[in-house]
Each structure stands twice: as structure tokens, then as C-alpha cells.
Amino acid sequence: MLLPQPGKIYRFYRNGFKSMTVGKTLWKIIFIKLFIMFAVLKVFFFPDFLQTNFSTDQQRADHVIEQLTGSAHLN
């Protein structure tokens, strides 16, 4: 039975990772994928539009309301 002691838990994970076979390849894929997602895609292609362009929630709300009430929708 796994006991919630830090040393045991550490050894459990360490031995588990050491004895992996196909899992090692999978972890490599996961890390490469996460790197591409968070260090490349998120940073260069997916800025949070409202967070980046406005500094307060009030400004963000005003922007969205302006989008919703623009003159093109009032005809």
C-alpha cells in the first residue's frame, strides 16, 4: 500500500519513470508538444487580445460593448 510519506512517494515516481519503456518516448512527445504550445504558439501567435490591449476590466468591458453596439448594428 502506498503511504503518503514524501520519501516513499518520491521513490515511487523515480522508480516508475526509470522503468518506463514506451513511456519514455511518450514523455518526450509530451514535453516537445508543451514547449511548442506554450513557448511558441502562445507567445507569438495567441496573445490574449483583451489582456494585451487593455489594462483594466472597465476598459475591456467598454471595448466589448463598443463592438456590440457599433453603428453598423444600429441601422
Partner: protein
């Protein structure tokens, strides 16, 4: 603001479709196969037979490969929300915050914690605790799906909220109403039960391959029995929950139902189209017959939509142009009310900027009168409220045919397993080999019905998709679309390669 750039809207749409459909290649396998692993291991713990342990470890390895390639692909959709769908994200943030936070906690504590025990704990924990962990992974994965589907269900049937016109946010008023909305519940039960079928057919496909090749025969036969029982139960359950989804559509999204049934003219005792070919180029109100050919079940649609053979089911024409006798307001009238709501929203904003509290309060009161029609104010024509009929209709019908086929297929696999002649039925094994690919197709088509069928809405009746997007350059979205396409193709090839290698090695390699 200027005119909406439809190129940006459509590229943002295309990117979301690509991401969601790619993500959904992995999710149903995880939801179904996790339970199958729990069943296999339960048999091992109960019988103590090592062959069941080897079998469990083999399927668990394939489960792990699928999980590893699929994990975090859903996060990309959250990136897209912030960049391409910023108005929408802002407006729904208060509603989606709670379900998605709970999903994150479930995913982390239930899946991540017990996932490690499931893979690392075979020789390091007791049999009972290991089995408990496997069950927790299965239950945790499916509960994670609940919260995502609750969020999606809210978009289809927005309840338990109030729109705040000064902050442009939908604010949660009743969490339980959001969680237990009939649309969300129908969506969760139908999605999970159909995913059980996908997981079962994954096992049947791989096992059929082994039987066709004459390899790992005993393991394949054992796997097929368990997967067929689970697949059969899942198929029956999916049929009932599908009926429940249709009933919910009949009440809350009648336009979607009319689209997936190709129903243009509503009637009492409406027929259900069992099969048919739509008239090419048919438009609402053009007088053409909706079908070039059809086979219908008399009064079937009224029963499906209202649980009453004689009930009126509205068609697309009724919903667009109105039907006074049935109390259905036309889209044109709703558009007029929606435009008044938009004008009041603008007055609220002006009064807020001017610091005129009295004018603001008066405008808010006026806005409340028409707020339920807000989204209609953004439509250019009444016909814009009609979703793409052909893709919704054909997706729905092919999904239903495949679902029926899976039910029969799992029955046949069980019957020949019982007779112990399965290995001789090459034709059935070939069908079994193809079944997983058909199941994934059916699962994806289910989402096409759900999402294409609710167009033009991002939030039903309140926010059309074109108003939910960020007005950024279409080229920006095109570039990230291309990157995703390449990334997803590479990841998918990696999964297929690793998965095929592991299947080729078989249970001895785990």
C-alpha cells in the same frame, strides 16, 4: 466600429473546427478505454489469473499512448478563445469559470494522481489500491468531460444567468441550473455513452486484427467479450440518450431539429425521415420540395420531439417567417426587438460615460424588455437564422445509421463468441476491424450536428458567431491555422506509428 470582416470570422471558425475535431479523435477513446481497462483489471483481481493481468497491461499501454498524444490538445482551444474569440470569452467568463476550474481540479487530482499509480504501481501497490486507482482514472476522465459539456450545453441553452449590460458579461445566477440544465445532461450522457462505444470498438478492431492474423488468439477473444458487452450497453444507452437529446432539441433548439430532419414545413403529426436525399439548392420559402427522395416513418418526428404522435413540430419556414396559429414569432420580429435591445445597450453605455445615473437606469429597464432577442439584432436577414441544412441533415442521419450498425455488430460479436466460432467468421472480423474508424466518424459527426446545427449562434439567440470574434487580421489566423495543421499532422502520425508498433509487438511487449 467598422463592418465585420467575415474572412476573419470564417478562419477563426475553421481553426476552431480543426482543433476541436483533432482533440476529439483522442477524447472518446480515453473515456471508453479507461472503463474497459477497469473492467479487465477487475476480472484479474477477482479471478487472480495472470492472463487477465497481461491483457489489462496491454490495453493500458494503448490507453497511455492515446492519452499522451491527446493530452493538452484541448488547451489550444483556450488559446484561441483569448485571441480569436475575445468578445465571446469576455462575455461568458463568469459562467465558464466555475465549470472549467472544477474540470481542472478533477483532471489534476483524479486523473494525474491515480494515473501514476495505474502505470507505475503494478508491483508497488496492493492489487486493491491499484484497481481503485484504475477506476478513479476512468471516473475522473468522464467527470472531467462533464464540466466541459456543461459549458457547451450552456451555449446551446443559456440558463441560470443574467446579462449585465454595463459590463457585457453573462453573470451566473444559479450554478445548479447551469449544471443540471436538460441540454447539458443530455449532452453529457449521450457523449459519454457514445464514447463507451468508441472505446469498445477500438478494442474490437485491434482484437479482430489479431484474430485475422491468428496471433494472441486467447487474449483477443477475451478482450472482445468484455468490449462487446460494454459496447452493446453503450449502444443501447446512446440510443436512449440520443432520444433525450432530440427531445431537448425539440424544446430548446427547434431550428437545429428542423435542420437535421430537413423539415421545412411544420405540421401536426410530423413524419420522421428515415432516409432521403435533400433537394439540391433548396432554400427556405422557395417552394421547392425539400427531398428528391425520402422514406418516412409516419408521425415519428412528433413522437421524437414532443413524445406525442399528434404534436406540432415547427419547420424551418415556421421558425423563420413565424406561425401565428402555433404562437411562433418570426425572426424578422425578433430582429426588430434585438435592434431595440442593441440601441438600449448603446444608450446605457453613453449614460455611463456621461455619468447620468438616471438615464442609465431607465435604459437598463428598457433593455431588459428585449434582451432575450439581443442576438437577433445582429442578423442581416431572417434567413441568416437557418443553419447549413445539408451538412446537419446528412451528419445526423449517417451518425444514426452507424450507431444502429454498432449495436448489431456488438450483438453479433457476442453471439459468435458465445458459440465459440468467432475466429472462423472472417467477414465479421473484417467488419470488426473497420468498426473503430466508423465509430470515430460517427462521434465526430455527432459534434457536427451539435455545432453546425446551432449556427449562426455562439450563444443560442443571444450572440451570433460573427459578433463573438476578435476583429484581428485574417492573415494572423491563417498563419496559426497552417501551423496547427502541420503540428496536428505530425502528432497524429507519431501516435499512429507508436500505436501500430505496440499493437504489432502485442501483449508480450508490455
Amino acid at each position: 466600429m467598422g463592418e465585420i470582416d467575415l474572412a476573419t470570422v470564417n478562419w477563426a471558425r475553421a481553426q476552431f473546427i480543426l482543433t476541436a475535431m483533432y482533440h476529439w479523435l483522442f477524447v472518446p477513446i480515453t473515456l471508453g478505454l479507461s472503463f474497459l481497462c477497469a473492467f479487465f483489471e477487475s476480472i484479474y483481481v477477482r479471478t487472480g489469473k495472470e492472463e487477465w493481468k497481461h491483457l489489462t497491461k496491454f490495453w493500458m499501454t494503448l490507453f497511455g499512448i492515446n492519452f499522451a498524444i491527446g493530452v493538452a490538445t484541448g488547451i489550444i482551444m483556450e488559446f484561441e478563445f483569448g485571441t480569436n474569440w475575445s468578445s465571446y470569452s469576455w462575455m461568458v467568463g463568469d459562467i465558464f469559470g466555475a465549470p472549467l476550474a472544477i474540470e481542472g481540479i478533477f483532471a489534476f487530482f483524479l486523473e494525474a494522481t491515480f494515473f501514476a499509480v495505474m502505470f507505475f504501481g503494478w508491483e508497488r501497490t496492493s492489487k486493491g489500491f491499484h484497481l481503485f486507482s484504475t477506476w478513479m482514472v476512468a471516473i475522473g476522465s468522464n467527470l472531467s468531460a462533464l464540466w466541459i459539456l456543461v459549458a457547451n450545453g450552456w451555449m446551446q441553452y443559456p440558463v441560470g444567468m443574467a446579462f449585465n449590460p454595463t459590463s457585457a458579461r453573462f453573470e451566473m445566477q444559479n450554478f445548479w441550473e447551469v449544471l443540471f440544465s436538460p441540454v447539458a445532461m443530455a449532452k453529457f450522457t449521450h457523449t459519454t455513452s457514445s464514447s463507451f462505444v468508441v472505446g469498445s470498438l477500438f478494442v474490437i478492431t485491434v482484437s479482430s486484427y489479431y484474430l485475422l492474423k491468428g496471433r494472441h488468439v486467447e487474449m483477443a477473444k477475451k478482450s472482445i467479450i468484455v468490449a462487446s458487452v460494454f459496447g452493446l450497453i453503450g449502444s443501447v444507452f446512446a440510443a436512449f440518450t440520443g432520444d433525450e437529446s432530440a427531445y431537448a432539441n425539440g424544446h430548446f433548439q427547434p431550428m437545429k431539429m428542423a435542420a437535421y430532419e430537413g423539415l421545412y414545413e411544420g405540421s401536426k403529426g410530423a413524419d420522421l425521415v428515415a432516409m432521403g436525399i435533400l433537394t439540391s439548392g433548396k432554400k427556405v420559402g422557395d417552394g421547392q420540395p425539400p427531398f428528391a427522395f425520402e422514406v418516412s416513418i409516419p408521425k415519428g418526428l412528433s413522437l421524437l420531439a414532443k413524445r406525442d404522435f399528434g404534436a406540432f413540430v415547427p419547420g424551418i419556414k415556421d421558425l423563420v417567417y413565424g406561425n401565428e396559429a402555433e404562437g411562433i414569432m418570426s425572426v424578422g420580429d425578433k430582429m426588430a426587438k434585438g435592434k431595440v435591445a442593441i440601441a438600449d445597450l448603446a444608450l446605457i453605455q453613453k449614460a455611463k460615460k456621461d455619468g447620468d445615473e438616471q438615464a442609465k437606469t431607465a435604459a437598463i429597464e428598457r433593455f431588459k424588455v428585449n434582451q432575450d432577442y439581443l442576438g437577433f439584432g445582429y442578423l442581416d436577414t431572417p434567413e441568416e437564422a437557418v443553419p447549413p441544412v445539408a451538412s446537419t441533415y446528412y451528419s445526423f442521419h449517417v451518425m444514426v445509421y452507424l450507431g444502429t450498425f454498432f449495436l448489431l455488430l456488438t450483438l453479433l460479436f457476442l453471439y459468435y463468441s458465445y458459440k465459440d466460432t468467432l475466429a472462423e467468421k472472417k467477414w465479421l472480423l473484417v467488419l470488426g476491424f473497420c468498426s473503430f474508424f466508423l465509430a470515430l466518424t460517427a462521434s465526430e459527426l455527432g459534434w457536427v450536428v451539435a455545432e453546425v446545427g446551432r449556427q449562426p449562434w455562439a450563444i443560442q439567440d443571444l450572440l451570433p458567431v460573427k459578433m463573438a470574434t476578435t476583429q484581428i487580421a485574417a492573415g494572423h489566423v491563417q498563419a496559426s491555422f497552417a501551423i496547427f495543421f502541420v503540428l496536428f499532422a505530425v502528432l497524429l502520425l507519431a501516435e499512429i506509428k507508436i500505436m501500430l508498433k505496440q499493437i504489432k509487438i502485442g501483449p508480450e511487449g508490455v
